[in-house]
C-alpha cells in the first residue's frame, strides 16, 4: 500500500486524470459548440469565431426549420420508421432467438451457421438492391425496415441471453401445460427485460440513424427521413460537390445557424434515450459473447 503513494505513482495519477479529462472535453466540445451556435444569431456567429455561450439567445433558427414542411415531415417519417421498425425487429429477433436457444432443436446447428455466415460474407449492395426492387419495395417505407429487420449480431446476443436462463423454468412451465409461445411471452421475455430493452434501443437508434437505405430505395423526396434531409441541408447544400449542385443553383445556401439547428434536432432523440441505455451497457452484460 505504501508504494501506491510514491512519487512515480502520483505522477501517473495526475497524468492519467488530466489526459482523460481532456479527452472527455474534446469529445463534448464539437457538439456543445453546435448546440450553442444553433441558439445564436447569425450576426454573432459571423463576427465571433468561437461560441460556447451565446450572448443573445434566439430561437429563430428553430422557428425557421419548423416553419418548413421538409424538416417537420421528415421528423414524423423518422419517428414512424423507428417505432414500427423497432417493433418488427424485436418481434422477429425474439421469436428466432428463442427458437435457436433451445438446444434440443433438430437442425439448430445448421440454422445458426446460416446466420453467422451472413456476418462473414455479404452479397453486397447491388444484388440486395435487386431483391428489394423485385419485391416491389422501392418507394415504400417498408424498404427502410424489412431489408435490415434482423441484425445477426443482435440475434446472437439475445439467443445467448435466453440460453443463460435456467432450463428448469421451461420444464416446469411445460408440465403446467404452457405452450411454447406461452413460455416465450409469459416467462422468457419478462425475465430478459434488461437484454430486451438494450437490444430494442440498439434497433431504435439504428432506425433513427437510417440514411443510406433511404437514398437507395426512396426516390420520392417527400418520404425521406430526417437524416437524409440533414444531409441535404448541411452536406449537399454546402455546394462543395459540383456533381450535386442542383440544390445550390436555385436556393441560396442555408444559414450556418440553421444547419446547426437541424443537426441538433436530428440528434436530440438519440441523446434522450441514451441515459436509459447506459444503465445496461456499462455492466458489459449484453456483450456476453458473439460466439455461437
Amino acid at each position: 500500500m505504501l508504494r501506491d503513494r510514491s512519487v512515480a505513482s502520483l505522477i501517473f495519477e495526475i497524468v492519467n486524470y488530466t489526459l482523460l479529462s481532456i479527452i472527455a472535453l474534446l469529445t463534448l466540445l464539437p457538439f456543445v459548440h453546435v448546440i450553442a451556435a444553433s441558439f445564436t444569431t447569425n450576426a454573432e456567429l459571423a463576427t465571433k469565431t468561437f461560441v460556447l455561450i451565446p450572448t443573445r439567445y434566439t430561437l429563430s433558427a428553430y422557428k425557421y426549420i419548423f416553419s418548413t414542411d421538409e424538416v417537420t415531415r421528415s421528423l414524423l417519417v423518422s419517428i414512424g420508421i423507428t417505432a414500427v421498425g423497432t417493433f418488427v425487429s424485436m418481434l422477429l429477433s425474439c421469436l428466432m432467438a428463442y427458437g435457436l436457444s433451445r438446444k434440443d432443436l433438430y437442425g439448430r446447428g445448421v440454422i445458426l451457421f446460416l446466420v453467422i455466415f451472413t456476418m462473414l460474407f455479404q452479397a453486397g449492395m447491388i444484388p440486395t438492391f435487386l431483391v428489394v426492387k423485385d419485391l416491389g419495395m422501392i418507394d415504400s417505407y417498408w424498404s427502410l425496415i424489412i431489408p435490415g429487420a434482423i441484425s445477426a449480431f443482435n440475434l446472437i446476443i439475445l439467443k445467448n441471453f435466453f440460453q443463460s436462463l435456467p432450463e428448469g423454468l421451461e420444464e416446469s412451465a411445460k408440465i403446467d401445460g404452457c405452450s411454447d409461445f406461452g413460455i416465450l411471452f409469459k416467462i422468457v421475455i419478462p425475465l430478459s427485460l434488461p437484454a430486451i430493452a438494450t437490444i430494442s434501443l440498439f434497433y431504435a437508434v439504428n432506425y433513427w440513424n437510417t440514411y443510406f437505405n433511404a437514398i437507395l430505395y426512396l426516390n420520392d423526396a417527400s418520404k425521406w427521413p430526417v437524416q437524409v434531409i440533414l444531409r441535404q441541408i448541411v452536406v449537399l447544400a454546402s455546394g462543395l460537390d459540383f456533381n450535386n449542385s442542383a440544390l445550390t443553383d436555385t436556393v441560396p445556401p442555408p444559414d450556418q445557424t440553421v444547419k446547426m439547428a437541424v443537426i441538433v434536432v436530428a440528434t436530440v432523440p438519440v441523446l434522450l434515450v441514451y441515459p436509459f441505455l447506459q444503465k445496461y451497457f456499462t455492466k458489459g452484460a449484453l456483450l456476453g459473447s458473439i460466439k455461437g
Binding site: Y98, A123, S179, F181, L277
Partner: protein, 318 residues
C-alpha cells in the same frame, strides 16, 4: 425377442434414428414456426442476393430478370483487373484500412487501460458516459458536425486559423486532409465505445495478481504491462480478427458523405464505387463483380486470420 434382434439388426438401426428425428421435429413444431419468419428473412435478404451474385457472370439488364442475360463468364472480372480506376479504389481502400488498423485500433485499448486505473468511480463513470455518446450519432450527424466546423465560411476551425494569422484551409475539398479527417471522425465516433469490451474483460482479472505485483515492487506501468494487457490479450486477438475481416468494409455510409468531386482521387473506395458505377451509371454486372471480389477477400482474410490465431495458440472467433 432375441431372435428378431439377431435377424434384423440393420433395419432397427436404420429406422430408429429416423423416427427419432421425426419425433423431435414434431415435438418442436411451434419452435420451428417461431424461427420461420426469421429464416425467411435471412434467405430472402442474405442468401437470395448471394445467388444473385451470378449476375456478375452475365450481361445483366434489369428488364431481363436475374438470369435472363447472356453468360459472359469471367469477362467482368477481367475488366476489373485491367481497369485503372479499380486499382485506384483498391489502393484507397487499403490505405484507409491500414490507417484504421494502425491508428484507430489501439486507441480503445489504451483508453480502457487508462480508465481502469481510475479509482474515483464518479470520475470514471462520467468520462465513460461522455465518450460513449458519439457512437449513437449517425454518420450524417458526425459528417455534418465536421462540415460546420471545417467549412471555409464561418467554420470555427478556419476562424481560429485566421486569428492565428494563418491562411484558411479548404479541408473538405483537400486531398491531403481527407485521410486524417476520416481517421479522426472514426476515433471521435467509435474509440470510446470500443473500450466497453476491454473493460468487461478487465473486470474478470483476479485482484490478487495486482496485490502480489505490488508486494514485488512493480510500478503501475509494469502492472499494466504484465497483468492487465496479457489478461485481455485473447479479446484483443478476437477483435483484431474481426477487424481484418472488414478490410474492404470501411463503412460506405461514412465515406460516401465525405466524398466530393475534388477529393475523389483519395476518397473513392470500393463501396462507394459500387454504388456510383452500379446504381447511378447502370453498370450492374461490373459493380456486382467488384462487390463480389470485395466480399470474397473479406471472407478469405477473416478465415486466414482465424487460422493464424489458432496456430499461435489463441482461441479464434469460431
Amino acid at each position: 425377442m432375441d431372435a428378431t434382434m439377431a435377424v434384423k439388426p440393420t433395419t432397427a438401426v436404420k429406422t430408429k434414428p429416423k423416427r427419432n428425428v421425426r419425433n423431435r421435429i414434431l415435438k418442436n413444431r411451434y419452435i420451428y414456426l417461431m424461427i420461420l419468419p426469421g429464416l425467411i428473412y435471412f434467405v430472402l435478404f442474405k442468401y437470395i442476393p448471394m445467388v444473385g451474385l451470378a449476375i456478375s457472370f452475365e450481361d445483366f439488364q434489369p428488364y431481363r430478370g436475374m438470369f435472363g442475360g447472356p453468360w459472359v463468364g469471367f469477362e467482368y472480372f477481367h475488366q476489373l483487373f485491367t481497369d485503372p480506376a479499380f486499382w485506384m479504389i483498391l489502393k484507397n481502400t487499403l490505405i484507409l484500412f491500414g490507417l484504421n488498423l494502425l491508428i484507430f485500433f489501439p486507441i480503445p485499448i489504451v483508453l480502457a487501460l487508462m480508465l481502469n486505473e481510475i479509482k474515483v468511480q464518479f470520475f470514471k463513470r462520467s468520462v465513460q458516459t461522455i465518450i460513449y455518446i458519439p457512437y449513437f450519432m449517425s454518420w450524417v450527424i458526425v459528417v455534418s458536425i465536421t462540415y460546420v466546423l471545417l467549412t471555409t465560411d464561418d467554420g470555427i476551425i478556419n476562424g481560429i486559423l485566421v486569428e492565428l494569422g494563418h491562411q484558411k484551409i479548404n479541408f473538405l475539398l483537400s486531398t491531403s486532409w481527407f485521410r486524417p479527417i476520416y481517421v479522426l471522425q472514426n476515433i471521435w465516433q467509435g474509440a470510446g465505445w470500443g473500450t466497453i469490451i476491454y473493460l468487461a474483460a478487465i473486470t474478470s482479472i483476479d485482484p490478487g495478481l495486482y496485490e502480489a505485483a505490488k508486494m514485488d515492487g512493480a510500478s503501475r506501468l509494469r502492472q499494466i504491462w504484465h497483468i492487465t494487457l496479457p489478461a485481455i490479450r485473447s479479446v484483443i486477438v478476437i477483435l483484431l480478427i474481426l477487424k481484418i475481416g472488414q478490410v474492404l468494409d470501411l463503412g460506405y455510409e461514412h465515406v460516401y458523405l465525405m466524398l466530393n468531386s475534388m477529393n475523389r482521387s483519395v476518397a473513392e473506395i470500393i463501396d462507394t464505387y459500387v454504388y456510383t458505377a452500379g446504381l447511378q451509371e447502370g453498370q450492374w454486372s461490373y459493380s456486382t463483380a467488384i462487390g463480389f471480389f470485395k466480399s470474397l477477400i473479406g471472407l478469405i482474410l477473416v478465415m486466414g486470420a482465424n487460422w493464424l490465431a489458432k496456430k499461435v495458440g489463441e482461441e479464434g472467433v469460431y
